[in-house]
């Protein structure tokens, strides 16, 4: 009886399996992270829209900033994202008839996200803007509507 010591039964091309596995791992990471950026952009757009809407629909100017921040936070967390990575900036935020309010939400997307191992790297910053006009004919504000200027 002969011992099986030779390599006559070895299948050539084993390195192709290793190469294929590497392509699979890095390709999956690339596509997953590209999708992560898109998903974060969706969350930022929703947050900006909700923030601007909540601002112009607020009853008073003192409530407007808090309402915008709360709405943006709800939107980000509703997308399963971390509010600590997000930032809300309100521009042109005058609480008066016809005033245009611009809400911009930025979100820091990690460079690599590996299940069970967490998030690594600072990655990219995605941002989205949304603008709304305070309703000229709403109640609760002084003065007349002068949107034509």
């Amino acid at each position: 009886m002969r011992a099986a010591l030779g390599q006559r039964g070895q299948i050539a091309g084993l390195e192709a399996v290793v190469f294929g596995t590497l392509v699979f791992v890095f390709g999956t990471l690339l596509v997953a992270n590209a999708w992560g950026v898109i998903d974060a952009k969706l969350a930022a757009a929703s947050a900006a829209r909700e923030a601007a809407r909540s601002y112009v629909e607020s009853s008073t100017s003192s409530e407007a900033d808090g309402a915008a921040a709360a709405a943006a936070r709800d939107a980000i967390e509703g997308h399963g994202r971390d509010w600590d990575r997000a930032e809300l900036a309100m521009a042109g935020a005058a609480f008066a008839r016809c005033a245009r309010v611009i809400a911009e939400v930025s979100y820091q997307v990690p460079l690599i996200v590996v299940p069970l191992l967490g998030q690594h790297g600072t990655g990219f910053t995605v941002s989205a803007q949304h603008s709304e006009v305070v309703d000229p004919y709403r109640s609760g504000l002084d003065d007349e509507a002068r949107c034509g200027g």
Binding site: G13, G20, G27, A34, I38, S131, V133, P136, C147
Partner: protein, 146 residues
């Protein structure tokens, strides 16, 4: 060789999915922009002096030129990143405004493929109607103005 070939096919399909998602995302953003601009115009483009002089008891009509200006301001105030050559069309009837925003979206991965499309054109549309009454009051049908 079947394993790397199959994996490459998988990655390419993933890249196609990402490019399609980018176009879909841009279309959603343009639709949101168009809706916001139409909403702004439906309120801000009302004839103010006429409204107040009639004590709010007149038929609500929109000023087409003012509506166009308000929509342009809305579009300029919140540009959509990643969308090029944005065009805006505004149509106004008595109390309705229809805003259509179009733009070219470059693909992310398909640009690396010789001969493949480098992007696509997406369109978003929003219609708003000016109505008299409390918030939530039913308005006229939004069909037809576009």
């Amino acid at each position: 060789m079947l394993v790397p070939a199959g994996v490459l096919v998988l990655v390419i399909l993933g890249a196609i999915a990402v490019d399609a998602a980018i176009a879909f995302l841009a279309q959603r953003e343009l639709a949101g922009m168009a809706a916001a601009a139409a909403n702004d115009a439906a309120g801000a483009a009302l004839s103010g002096p006429g409204f107040y002089e009639a004590g709010g008891r007149t038929e609500l009509t929109l000023d087409a030129a003012l509506a166009r200006r308000v929509v342009d301001q809305a579009v300029a105030a919140s540009p959509v990143r990643g969308v090029e050559d944005v065009t805006v069309d505004v149509r106004v009837t008595a109390s309705q405004v229809c805003v259509t925003v179009s733009g070219h979206v470059p693909y992310l991965f398909a640009r690396a493929v010789p001969g493949a499309a480098t992007g696509t054109t997406v369109t978003g549309r929003g219609v708003a109607t000016t109505v008299e009454g409390p918030p939530g009051a039913a308005g006229a049908s939004a069909t037809g103005v576009c």
